[in-house]
Amino acid sequence: MTMNIDNNESSLGIVISGSLSEGIRVRLTNPTTVELVKVGTFVSINGENLKFFGVITDISLGASDHNIEYGSIESSNTFVKEVMSGTTTFGEIIVHPMLTLYNTEDIDTAFEKPLPAKTIPNHFAKVSSATEQDIERVFGSESDNVFWVGHPLDMESKLCLNIKELVTRTNGVFGKSGTGKTFLTRLLLIGILQSDSASNLIFDMANEYGWRGYSENINEVKGLKQLFPSKVAVFSLDETNSKKRGLTPDYVVKFGLEEIEYGDIAILKDLLNLTDLALDAVYVLEHHYGRKNWLKMFLSLQGRDSISNIAEKLNFHEGTLISLHNRLSRIHRFNFIDKTQSHQSVEKILEYLQRGIHVVLEFGRYEHNALAYILVTNLITRRIHQKYVELTETSFTKNKKPKPIVITIEEAHRFLTPSIAPKTIFGTIAREMRKYNVTLLIVDQRPSSIDGEIMSQIGTKFACLLDNEKDVDAVLTGVHGSRKLRSVLASLDSKQQALIFGHSLPMPVVIKTREYGTPESYRSFGISNKQDQIEIDREELFGEN
């Protein structure tokens, strides 16, 4: 049986020269296409024995006569221009071959997975824009563990991601402000939710994932809880704010002072403007009063005298402790910190996650409070990780691994700057990969501020437009052939486009991110749970409650 691999391809041009390292030069057959081809487009090259898949990384103009380049030929005559274009003057593209497969008519091998390109096509090989079959061949088609995230540049075909593969590593969504990071992340979270390959814990700093997200175009989009009410729980740090926005949270999160440790303060060093000495004092205080009581005891000290007493006892300068006391009182003032009793918030979150319920933690009125965000995120993540290390270690004997968790953090550089990343839990998680079934989904607009070592551990990168050179470098370092992707990354649209590459994809690809926010887009998730669908229909009929 034979199979025609090449039907409906739209031909672009032929190979005229090139190398594996510098890319293949392709002369466009139709000169008028120069203005139509785009950097980042997915193309196929039909070699003698191999079929290549690659990406357009550059576009240029060529001329057979140098006089044209010197500008000594000038003609305003349209006929002259018409004749010359495509003959004397022509368009060229550079294609970087990424994958190959045998160009065979045999159906048995026709379904083999493509392999990384280790060679290049012959002269005069035909280059075409990729077809829908090519896309499916390389990236897979929409099925169980494969999630449709968008469309390859200028194509109708669906581009799918293998979510199971994706969640085995820490991943990152990058891009400058307003490029669609949050929208793309929301889609990835839905992909994870629908594939059931992990439980999500989302630190929703700006209240946009759980309930009612904001959009520049249509003001409001649905949050995850609205689409998947039976699978998502919204935890809130600020019940009043959540209720004001029409949501009764599944759980109101509070922490007791005794839950805060040295490490939770250390990560706040810059925000609280603490000196090294002040941090040493925290360490000593923790020893002095005991891990559970130190903060409660220290903050309960009233007046200068009692603080100087302690300072003397512990051999610290009085001034150091007074200013430390002042600064730590800021924590004390958060409504979600309970001075009197302990709480089980982290246990509650863990319980939900273990049941396969995805947890969105809303910050309510603290939405732009970096101190609250970092304190809470670190506190919870540290303890969940701790728990997971225990669970994973005992799982060897019980033969039951804990449900994998993906922790989503926005503004990730706040946790991952080179100075703190090696010491924080986030650095640890990013480095140890999936060992303990916890991975991160990092969302950030300043990747250059993130520790380079962490960046190099990121499995799959979703890069929206970045215009700062340093940020572009940070995203591309450690990626094979990244130099070639620079031009692609720099020429993305300012919204709803991303270059995605890394562990879970066979080759880099530019996508237009799947639409999110319209009724059709919600329907396209094919919500299967009856109860969820009833909720959504009700909302659509009667408006949101």
Binding site: S64, D65, N67, I73, N77, F79, V83, M84, T88
Partner: protein
């Protein structure tokens, strides 16, 4: 007078005959003084193998090369008067054409190549009709032969050919574009020359 044959749609009578032959160039003597197609016209000769050539030069001179012509018109009203008053001129002068061989037709198949055997002396020569010219110009491979001829004025011949024949076709822009592209390929490293030809063709 010179364009007479072009205006006739189906010239059945020959315009002249071959008097000098080679694989690349022919000389045709016209049967009637001055009755020649224009420079750049496609003509054909031969019976079994039809050989096509393009007129690159037209000459009229004394038949007896030892005798030069003398001036006769100093008192005449017009040049026609001179010919009427001196009917012997029709026998003393003759018009001849130089042509460049550009292809041949064998068993209805047209080739843009030099025929393996050149036409014979005295082969009758006909001017191609517009239809025949267009049939010959379905592709433009023959421009390669024209371009490589050593005629110093070949560009003018090419321009005349394209302007007159293709310009008169039903779909001139399509054909001219294709002809132009063929020229562009041939002259890919001499854009100056290409531009000059194209600009003149498109006038």
């Amino acid at each position: 007078m010179i364009n007479k044959n072009q205006e006739e749609k189906y010239p059945k009578s020959p315009i002249g005959e071959v008097i000098e032959t080679s694989a690349f160039n022919l000389t045709i003597q016209c049967h009637k003084l001055y009755e020649s197609p224009a420079i750049g016209s496609l003509i054909k000769c031969g019976t079994e193998t039809i050989v096509y050539s393009v007129i690159s030069n037209i000459k009229t001179q004394s038949l007896d090369t030892t005798r030069t012509t003398i001036a006769l018109a100093q008192n005449a009203f017009s040049v026609e008067d001179v010919y009427q008053e001196n009917p012997q001129l029709q026998n003393l002068l003759s018009t001849s054409l130089n042509t460049i061989v550009v292809g041949y037709k064998q068993n209805t198949h047209i080739n843009h190549e030099i025929p393996s055997i050149p036409p014979k002396i005295h082969d009758l020569t006909y001017c191609c009709t517009l239809e025949e010219t267009l049939e010959f110009s379905q592709t433009f491979g023959f421009l390669r032969i024209l371009r490589s001829s050593n005629n110093a004025h070949i560009d003018d011949v090419i321009v005349s050919f394209l302007r007159s024949t293709l310009g008169n076709s039903k779909n001139p822009s399509q054909l001219l574009l294709r002809a132009g592209q063929e020229l562009a390929r041939l002259l890919k490293d001499d854009t100056q020359r290409l531009t000059q030809i194209l600009e003149r063709v498109s006038l």
